[in-house]
Amino acid sequence: MARFLVVQLARIGDLAQTRRLLAGLARKAEATGGEVHLAVDASLAGLARRLYPFATVHGLPAHGAPGRDAAAAARRVMEARPAFEAVAAARWDKVFLLNFSPLSMALAAMFPPEVQRGYRMHAGQADKDALLRLVFRLTRDRRGAGINLADIWAHLDDAPLDPALVNPPAAPRGGGLGVALAGRAARRSLPPEVLAPIVRTLFLATGAKRVTLFGTPSQAGEARALLRRLDGPVREACRDATGQTDLPGLVDALSGLDRLVTPDTGAMHLAAFCGVPVTAFFLSSAWSHETGPYGLGHTVWQHTVPCAPCLESAPCDKGLACLPPFADPALHRCLAAPAKAAPPAGIVGLATDCDALGALCRPFCGDDPTAGRREALRAFLTRRLAGEAADAVPAESGHDLAESLSLETDWVLPPPGRALAGEW
């Protein structure tokens, strides 16, 4: 009986993006009469149960509500001891630690090193799997990066689920258009004056009858600002649902839409999870080849200005050069009829797809200056990660990357999970 634990302490989007790993483990567990457990922040436990009914969910105090109040923090952590004990008491075949965070590392110390995958901790020494070491090297060239975060996590397991089986293919569900107002980083979202004409265009192009605005209570102001900028028929079709749903309710609401218009948000990943088509706008630090919507049938409008993708934590000294192209009428023409128009310079239209490695975004409209680099990287990574499926990948492609990205430890150390004694 195989028993797996996945520790995902990040936020909503990351939880949805863990599906490929979790679903693959669930299939293995099913074959052996085993179990899948999932540890998340306590605030996301309900959502986790809704998304992954096959998993036993453990809520942990990972997100920092008590802030700097030391006594409150200590109380909160100590109250969660039964949850820690429940997780520690079980015997796991594999424990997947997905977050590069001190909290996650601290949790890792509860498990024997040989069962840990991902970010690991043993005898006070932090370490990470060879794949994650490689991923860190990839961040030297994020513009050339071409592997979705969901696939990185999935490939921490030896035989991940077929990527095409992860999320349902996107198809309209009859509930009209949804608009996710903003993500956690405001710079990655379109301001109301840029978003309004886009919503209007898509409302008309899709023939939608209803528009629902989604967001947290703190985004109610943005919703009002957007409504002010929408003209009569569109505004009349709008319903402001900001702050009106809890997380499971948000999933219910999103799952009935015809399409969600969104920046790179948790709502985007939830919509993709439900098979609802997504039209996403990626700017600033958002890079769809890392965190784009997973599965078939979504559309991403990705900015490609030379400074992209930038660092979220660093202030922009380029005057938000990536934003103006999203206000360009040429983009609106593309949204209305992609086959008949070209996007403005600095934006490429991408359609989501799956290959042997995982999810990817393929250009269908406009210039994609990084497509060649991504293709080479995916060839290298496919050979590295996809087993027999890699036989179809051209042997020459990405060979120079293998040379530059591989280190001696990769060659000398066994893959994670491989018995040190060796076995064939």
Binding site: D127, H399, V412, E423, W424
Partner: protein, 424 residues
């Protein structure tokens, strides 16, 4: 191909792993063929390498230190090569040789060979390292050979695994040994997912399991022998000899196909055959050219395994016929000596001018006074050196001997130093 002189071969072992004993078998085989062999004992460095894991530093720093450590070990290999002056450096999979060291060896005119005795789909970093070896032997054929060519390795060739008849041999076991190691149906190896599921179906066939990594399997736990500890080579030979039927199921991390049906053939196949022990082995893509269906009993799926297992358990005479035929074939064709001959022949056919002419110092015996020759000839026999070995190789072999040297050996070392000091 017969070489005009004994070759000097430096065998670089990995620090640990399944290829470690294979490296030792290769060294013994090369010695048996009359070549002067020096072994780089990388396992001696493993303790220090492992100590890095207990440093409690950041994961980035750990990675840096591990790579730096491997560079130092690589330099040790280079220093050894510089002193020994090998005609060939033979490295086994996971040998600690950096690309920088391989470049230096190439620059210094030292021919290098890698026997990559691993599954290229699991150990995927070969493409970054293979081009730096002059010869690259592998246990799989296409598409690997084609991929190696595309990666810039034009001297790759197929060299299947083997067994060592001095180690893997029929044994007369004592009643006590039969009690400890005996079973009607036996498996010796690690608990990979496919084996766990497959063997759970075989509980009615007197199954006993030896080896590690079977923890947490309640179904198989009662069948696990010797506390599930790692099994030494000597013990594995006893286990093979003590079983009525030895199961040989190639490992797989997937539970989708319990009988994985891959291409390469594992060492256990050759070792069991060489022991004259009966085995039921899963059908592999490359097995038919190594053993025929009347030499090794094979199965393609779990149903066939059960059917044939029942038959052979009931028919000891049939088992004996298979075992005898398999041993005969293994002795004739599948020894490490044969593999090393093939490797050296391949190197001679591909590397221009290799291995070069006579070494300095001339033949050992010809330069010695008549009265010493008889004694030295006996010493050559003791050292497994051919009669035409060079004086330098003889001196190297004497230097490598452990403990206090005899007056004759000391005289040879003294003579070597004399010649160095006063010229030859």
């Amino acid at each position: 191909m017969a070489f005009s002189r004994a070759l000097r071969v430096l065998v670089v072992l990995p620090m640990y792993g399944g290829s470690l004993p294979i490296g030792r078998y290769c060294a013994d085989a090369l010695k048996g063929l009359g070549h002067a062999v020096e072994v780089f004992e990388a396992p001696a460095f493993h303790g220090a390498f492992s100590a890095l894991k207990d440093l409690r530093v950041t994961s980035d720093r750990l990675e840096y230190l591990e790579n730096s450590f491997l560079q130092v070990v690589s330099q040790a290999v280079c220093a050894k090569a510089e002193t020994f002056g090998p005609d060939l450096l033979l490295a086994l999979a996971q040998a600690p040789l950096s690309r920088q060291a391989l470049k230096r060896l190439r620059r210094d005119g030292v021919a290098t060979a890698m026997w990559f005795v691993e599954d290229f789909r699991l150990f995927t970093y070969w493409e970054a390292f293979a081009p730096y070896y002059d010869v690259f032997a592998v246990i799989q054929k296409e598409p690997l050979l084609e991929k190696l060519a595309a990666a810039g390795q034009g001297n790759a060739f197929y060299l299947p695994l083997a067994a060592d008849p001095a180690v893997h041999r029929p044994l007369e076991l004592t009643p006590v040994e039969r009690r400890i190691y005996g079973a009607r149906t036996s498996f010796m190896g690690a608990g990979y997912p496919n084996r766990r599921l497959a063997f759970a179906e075989l509980l009615d066939y007197g199954l006993a399991i030896f080896g590690s990594d079977w923890d947490g399997d309640a179904t198989l736990a009662p069948r696990l022998r010797l506390d599930g500890r790692r099994i030494s080579t000597e013990e594995s030979v006893r286990i093979f000899n003590a079983a009525e039927v030895n199961l040989n199921l190639h490992s797989s991390v997937s539970v989708e196909r319990l009988v994985p049906g891959g291409d390469f053939v594992n060492p256990r196949t050759f070792e069991l055959a060489m022991c004259g022990a009966f085995q039921l082995v899963d059908r592999r893509g490359l097995l038919s050219e190594l053993f025929s269906e009347d030499e090794l009993a094979q199965f393609g799926d779990l149903g066939e395994l059960k059917e044939r297992l029942a038959y052979f358990l009931a028919h000891p005479d049939a088992r004996a016929v298979f075992a005898e035929k398999a041993r005969r074939r293994a002795l004739a064709e599948h020894t490490y000596a044969r593999r090393m001959e093939a490797l050296l022949d391949f190197a001679a056919s591909r590397l221009p001018g290799w291995p070069g002419g006579e070494r300095d110092g001339g033949q050992a015996l010809s330069g010695l006074p008549e009265e010493m020759r008889g004694e030295v000839a006996a010493l050559l026999g003791e050292l497994s050196l051919p009669p035409d070995v060079s004086f330098d190789d003889l001196v190297w072999a004497v230097r490598a001997r452990q403990g206090v040297l005899s007056p004759l050996e000391t005289s040879l070392l003294f003579l070597d130093e004399w010649r160095r000091q006063y010229g030859r």
